[in-house]
Symmetry: D2
Subunit: 368 residues, 4 copies
Amino acid sequence: MGSTWGNALKLSIFGESHGAGIGVVMDGLPAGQPIDLEDLQLFMDRRAPGRTPWSTSRREGDQPRILSGLYNGKTTGTPLAMVIENTDTRSKDYSELTIKPRPGHGDLTGIMRYDGANDPRGGGHFSGRLTACLVAAGGVARQILARRRVQLAGRIFGIGCVYDRQVSWVNPDPDILKNLANKAFPVIDDDLGLQMADVVAAARQNGDSVGGTVEVIAWGFPPGIGDPIFDGLEPRLGSLFFAIPAVKAVEFGDGVAVANRFGSENNDAPSFVSVNGETKLRMLTNHGGGSDGGISNGMPIVARLSIKPTPSIGKVQPTVNLTTMQNDELQIKGRHDPCIVPRAVPVAEAALAIGLLDQWLGINGRRF
Amino acid sequence: MGSTWGNALKLSIFGESHGAGIGVVMDGLPAGQPIDLEDLQLFMDRRAPGRTPWSTSRREGDQPRILSGLYNGKTTGTPLAMVIENTDTRSKDYSELTIKPRPGHGDLTGIMRYDGANDPRGGGHFSGRLTACLVAAGGVARQILARRRVQLAGRIFGIGCVYDRQVSWVNPDPDILKNLANKAFPVIDDDLGLQMADVVAAARQNGDSVGGTVEVIAWGFPPGIGDPIFDGLEPRLGSLFFAIPAVKAVEFGDGVAVANRFGSENNDAPSFVSVNGETKLRMLTNHGGGSDGGISNGMPIVARLSIKPTPSIGKVQPTVNLTTMQNDELQIKGRHDPCIVPRAVPVAEAALAIGLLDQWLGINGRRF
Amino acid sequence: MGSTWGNALKLSIFGESHGAGIGVVMDGLPAGQPIDLEDLQLFMDRRAPGRTPWSTSRREGDQPRILSGLYNGKTTGTPLAMVIENTDTRSKDYSELTIKPRPGHGDLTGIMRYDGANDPRGGGHFSGRLTACLVAAGGVARQILARRRVQLAGRIFGIGCVYDRQVSWVNPDPDILKNLANKAFPVIDDDLGLQMADVVAAARQNGDSVGGTVEVIAWGFPPGIGDPIFDGLEPRLGSLFFAIPAVKAVEFGDGVAVANRFGSENNDAPSFVSVNGETKLRMLTNHGGGSDGGISNGMPIVARLSIKPTPSIGKVQPTVNLTTMQNDELQIKGRHDPCIVPRAVPVAEAALAIGLLDQWLGINGRRF
Amino acid sequence: MGSTWGNALKLSIFGESHGAGIGVVMDGLPAGQPIDLEDLQLFMDRRAPGRTPWSTSRREGDQPRILSGLYNGKTTGTPLAMVIENTDTRSKDYSELTIKPRPGHGDLTGIMRYDGANDPRGGGHFSGRLTACLVAAGGVARQILARRRVQLAGRIFGIGCVYDRQVSWVNPDPDILKNLANKAFPVIDDDLGLQMADVVAAARQNGDSVGGTVEVIAWGFPPGIGDPIFDGLEPRLGSLFFAIPAVKAVEFGDGVAVANRFGSENNDAPSFVSVNGETKLRMLTNHGGGSDGGISNGMPIVARLSIKPTPSIGKVQPTVNLTTMQNDELQIKGRHDPCIVPRAVPVAEAALAIGLLDQWLGINGRRF
């Protein structure tokens, strides 16, 4: 197993970085949902490599070809399959890596797990390229959610030691959030974004890479969605976020900061508030990121993902040589992102969309 | 769904805090594994309430009664079911809470999710009491792992703003780790532990509660265990850790700190090292917490859980009144932990044991 | 794994025939559904042993104790757990069977599967007694279906070579079907039922057992429920029916007879028909048992289960001796049904109810 | 859901008959297994249409293109994805069928299930064409099983009222069984096969179709594989067999015939027998089809599938008109098999291979 996920909405992801193609099957979608392929492609493009100075120069169209599940522009209700061909692969770049595994990568553990039979080219099935499948699936899921007034956005929360402005997600401004998708470097405070870009540029110049944090927000998600214990919002979304390569921490709401708090500071108290003349039930604060007991409370759902610096760096690194069985050194060549955080933003949004739609369908059914 | 988890080892948890009983069914255990019931009870006792000044004064035996799956002291291979009777329930304490839901608790979202049909007494199925089921299952799992030389330990990493000593988990000292289980307040530096206890005592005196962090470590876990993408160690363990009530962040290895790093600082490089005269393949550092690409690399597996302050506090709090449909105030009476972090340590260890055994069985099969 | 089933509604069954108790956890039930415990017990009683001359003289109350999931007489929406204590166990009857496994039983394969660690007493987890758990779960499921006008019934279709009247299930008579539940020997033609009883009596007198067929029918199930390929009505219900011990064939609609037909004979053609003045869409025939392409078509859902003669017979039989490792003979003592077919009727109804409710919840959601 | 199956080995099938392509993802295969693509194609060819006078004249190459999971001729251990392009589609043939649904087909229930959004062309996702995906997956599974000395074969057991010779599957002759795969009309007694062919030819001439029975056998499968209750061999294999369109009954071992038997006739008694000088534990008979209590007993695993006559016939049939909302008539044009039984043989073998490999991997793990 490994690459299959879901309760009401099942995903099956396949492919290797330098194989014939990668793809995803979505099983359990509601029928009759219009899917705007142009919107899907725009969402895919946000993850695609080769578009900013910060990303690898590998260029892939990353155009998902829909093999099934869409008829006359609408979902059929039966499995929706998307395939992305691998076109620009330079496998020779990777020949050295089965002998000298890259530190911090899955090269060595992949060999251990599969007794050396796995496809090592470009990281194989463990490549960040596989996140294109997640984005394709998420691009479908978010369109279905959007028609139910659930909106999603994501931003770079920090790179290295530079952070974007903190926002208390009680009443998010939809205009600011929606505009993030149009930015090549999606932050709220563009000045801080420029500082982050400098950190990336410096890492790049040093043949190094740098980590960062992504924040994603969903608003308009109705209260009362989620299940107890293992299928609460946090465990389900958490399992998706941690499926994104390089994610080493996942936070909901105030995340690690809750550990320093008193209950009187941290509790989100419900309150009847007047919104445009109507009385609504809201929380006065949103430390919990929209979830109590694993169930949505109607507030924005907020998560942050800590992303490690990409392990592929140009600097000389110690490693082992599996042919000589001696310690050795490695200098990685080829095209690599000095910072994958900007490209991880739509990936995290996609995971959020998939997780929320799965929960929704499980509780409300697949007849819309 | 909600309370069922697992691939090769399936768990089904049931029960409500003030109902007849709670329990867990474990399906998929290997047959013929001796289970030491005394050891299981000692592990349960580490979570049980009413044993320290920091925990609620509710007293439950918390003795799991094994209904099936154990024969002549060994697992049968067919489902192992454990039931814990609820004996000391004072439901009158909770009568007010369906009208005035507790801030930060699942009271209100439970009503939204189940249209008010859920059992509200003591939090019902959302009660922290249900973690006794996780501990019972984990207590079985860790004995099976221990016989394969996989050891687990956990500690309070911090309470409020006081933290225990940081440890780089490259060569953990088994004696220090094993001794943690014997401490009422499991920290490595007992002086820091006393400071944490002061924080708890202060919160208690103020009718408040305080959050904290738990760290868990597994060592001796073989390399090459884990699956790609959705079933990597992080997503699988993450889904279990987030199933523990009050957990708002999960970190693996250096966790949120990786976001601030350069790749050259963060990569764990493999190396042939001499251990007691034998050449072994190890990582020089362990920033990744024992996992690369979701697969174990032979280093200690390390995770940290950020636990929010328990929402049940004695202070007056704003809330809504669902009878009058007006804003109102609430002062919670009854027995509540000012800090659940110490009791969460064995819960996190249990989740770790369950997750690792599930992965192991899925790859190596259930014939030992 | 093994004893866990379900998509939208998950079942986890545990227990061994002569252990402390058996039980079932149902996860995913809709909340707020009233459960009539008296009706549940009446349904359980139809399976309970010791009530007719044809069944084993072992007497168990078979009263499920509900540990969770029911509050104020209604489902909470969180897991419903039921436990049945084992009270009348005479384990000494079975001591010989680990040495000389009973032909046709799971004794030998159980030893092979679990390396001898499984509980052999009374068949352990493989005992027909475990079907009480299925009946308990099915008893809950059918009440929820009944409130949505889905009715279920079952009958003995045949024992040995004597068969009840064939019925073309196009317009079933609800009165005849509902009355079946009141009969100790549920057949449509009671004269044929008496002939069947004679077959059972003869088998009993010979120290032998006899097989038979059970037919179950659900009517009022709405059209359009079911999923393609693996989750069609037939594969899902089939997996449940084959989970009943001793079932060696499952047929839907005309079953094995379809193999002998021409398409022009077998096709169920849709037609607008007038029912009480209203125009309804119906099938003119029901050879398919209410399912086309795995999806319900609004006609009665019909299945038949072929049940082998219970392997525990009084006659001397050849077997192996696992101590001497020689061929040997066995004469089974103890209390055994000469024919389990009558008791299998509510078990098959229960499986049908569980399967249909799971499909319904998966498509329509769990908010009623 | 619907098109996803499996515990240790997960399958995800996608595609519509006249869409861009169909395919299957296999997740959970052991790594390093050589796959002979020529052998796979030969197996695919046994199902492919257009090769005998009995089958539809539609011609598809049915060549699975492997997108991932195979590297240097061996499985990588990560998902193996296969796509079959749809090349010869004549969608105009089907335009009438959304208005006048074909009796006995999923046309009408598909519309009910998906509110008319499903792809109706050629049956869409419900088309028999999707079984090519099952055959592709089964073709991989059987090669892996074969390397562990598990062999599979299948035959036409009957068409209309003509049946092939009954065989008691105690000591199957491998030569006879292996030769079945080479026959265009795979029966044991070729004279009876000619009679069956006459039945098909007559049905064809009448613009009609005819049903039949397929029998599949696996030998060399080790004893002790299978799980209790829901994951026994019968429920797991049964769920796969019933996923094949047109299957209305599934029998294991003697199947429906066990209902007429006495226990003394039906029990399979174990015995130590001498095989080539070695003492082996065998059953004296094989009425149970190789399974006791859902667990393999070392005897050949035998199942029979009753296949209804294909509903697409040339004769005029009653149906409804969903435009006029009146009763109407339909005469189906286009290319259709008068008898799909011969082509169903490799499909049933494929299902058997998938089911047995899934059970094997779940118990023995995926490290070979």
